[in-house]
């Protein structure tokens, strides 16, 4: 997205406001509420089974009104997180259809890499949310959403240093910042004497991951021990 797209606000034939990006309508020009109802009907299984939902695209939140309505019926506790690449859309939505926005967690105008540095977002993803793409928004920002969905985390220590627990920050300073956790495990294996609690903690983690992990450590070939 080299150039910021032009945002226009138009009214549907039914009278609801609709965001239009570079001439592309993000909702039905005739009846966005009806459109949202039938859109959500196609995702009822996901909404029923998952109490965490990730929605790709905010638009003017007509689809989200419907999603929230169903989540309310299906679950006592739930969370709906929306990723919207264009911050102007959120601003406009706050003006033209703000009624349910407070019930959502909206991450707007953030780069994909920045999103994945957010501890709360990571925690949310760890709960394996159901993913629902708002078709018009997804198509307009297809590159953005594709990179969001195919993101691969940087496995180096340096990329995570700011998120390490305070009590372990000093401990990890002894390692090369380019090292991955797997490389740190390997280095620890050669250590004849374990001297700190953190050594034992990593020993436990190493054992668990060796028994369970299938992920290929993509940073291994780049990092220097």
């Amino acid at each position: 997205m080299a150039l910021s797209p032009t945002l226009e606000i138009k009214k549907s034939k039914h009278g609801e406001y609709i965001p239009v990006l570079n001439g592309v309508f993000l909702h039905s020009a005739f009846n966005p509420i009806k459109e949202a109802e039938s859109f959500v009907e196609n995702h009822l299984t996901t909404l029923n089974q998952k109490n965490n939902i990730l929605v790709l695209g905010l638009g003017f939140a007509y689809h989200l009104d419907q999603i929230l309505h169903h989540m309310n019926n299906f679950h006592q506790q739930y969370q709906v997180v929306v990723v919207e690449p264009n911050h102007k859309i959120l601003k406009a939505c706050e003006e033209f259809n703000p009624k349910n926005l407070k019930r959502l967690v909206i991450l707007s105008g953030l780069e994909v890499k920045t999103l994945y540095q957010d501890a709360n977002f990571i925690r949310f993803l760890m709960n394996r949310p159901g993913v629902i793409a708002h078709p018009a928004s997804f198509n307009f920002h297809s590159e953005y959403f594709k990179s969001l969905l195919s993101f691969e985390a940087d496995q180096s220590l340096s990329s995570f240093q700011h998120r390490l627990p305070n009590e372990l920050k000093a401990y990890f300073q002894q390692f090369n910042p380019n090292m991955t956790l797997n490389q740190i495990f390997t280095q620890l294996e050669t250590k004849t004497k374990l001297t700190t609690t953190a050594d034992f903690m990593l020993g436990a983690l190493s054992t668990w991951t060796n028994n369970n992990t299938t992920k290929v450590d993509t940073n291994d070939k780049h990092a220097h021990c």
């Binding site: 390490l164 004849t192 004497k193 001297t195 609690t197 054992t207 992990t213 992920k215």
Partner: protein, 505 residues
Amino acid sequence: MTNTLIVNLEKNLDLNMLAATAQTYAIAKKTQVSLLVLDEVKTAQNATDMVEKIFTINLQEMVKCSKHRIFSNFEMVNELQKDLNVINQNNWDEVINLGEDEASLYLVRCLQTKLLKGKFYNDNRIIYSSNLMAQWRKQHSFLHQQICMNDGLEIASIIEEANAEAEVINTKRYALELASGQHVTPLSYECLVELVQGLTYIKNDKIDLIVREEERQTKLIMDLQERFPQNLSIVEASISQLKNVLKGYDLVICQSHYFKTLCDQNGVTSFTIYHDYQSLYQNCSLNPNSLSLYLNKADVPFIKGAELIQCINFAFIKGKVTANLDLETLELYRLNNKQILVPISKNYNVGLYLKMILEKGLYREVQYQTWLEYKTELTIISDRELATFIQDEKESLSLVVKNTLNAIRLLKNFEHTQGNVKELVTYIDRLMNERSKDSATNYLLDLFKHQMEHLDASSREDNLIKTEKALINLKNHLQTLTRILGDMAETINERRKAQFSGINI
């Protein structure tokens, strides 16, 4: 009161069994016991309220981080630290790791405690492990008893109290487990009818038929209800509710181990039916008032309710060895204060009884040199039976002694020359893997195997020294067993001498 944390991070852990062990430990040591287990174990097995608190490690969350490309592996560090912070908020007086998995050997070293027991890595990654650990996986109930026997006096006094309370009880409430499923051979309808009839006739009281929600047998229940409209109530409970449901009864007739364990945890007297000796030995009720009945699977269809009632009446008589219940096919046992399953019926499995005396006596001798207190348990065994048993044990023992001495001899050769590695490995392999059926030497070989499996592989010389130490230990234990068998044989001689002098011991 002190604060103890028992750790077991195995994925296939029996949480109820661990909680039962923890509860006994809490009583014996007068300590508050909490557990640390994997989150998935706690979720799957519906946590028990028999312990102070159950802490968890969320391994699945951590594995998720390590498996998915969108997460940095370092997320695992955050997740684990978060769990550890919660656990370390308590000031633990002692932490005991009963887990056999490698991760827990590391993890318990991250816990803040004054004393660490069980199994764990030292700073050089050498496993520290107490002998109790060798028993944990194979014989949970055995360990359950042994773990508290360090303080034999305390646990004995608890049992005394329980016995005194149980002297004569006017029974008011019975529960009968209506069991089904793969692992249970249920009592026949006719037997159940006779049982309910008999119990209500004697006590003129009501019986509750306890049904697990998922095992409802509608037709059987309806038939029984129709037959006993006044005296029989149906209590349907889910697994999570069962524990509380069973609390109120004076006697629960159990057809499954699960009910028996719940009764033990609640201190409720149970009458449990076993169909094989192995499970009777390993999973007998630990409540000194409870009764364990052995009934061959093939005999189940023929058992009569009247016979069961005859047995059940013993549950309300003070636990004293009487061995006078004359039943044709049934064997009835009760655990005494030395943790021996004492037969109450005339019919009993002599081999099982002797095996229990020898194994528990051997354990006590190895740990505390107090085997002699078990010798008195031999009084009900005839000379001939005892002699046969001793002979069998000696045969198994001689083979193990031969292998042990050969291994030691070969190992000694390494001090001077290269030695015959292949031959040494053969003997050690035999000691580790060959077992005689039902012999007490198996217990000693298990201890040896346990030591061998945890040799530190840092250097060959070190390994040889430790192997030698393990072999010498085994040799000493075998000598102890020989001495105990000698003592047993001496019992026969003493009886003969007494007979000749006209004194009946």
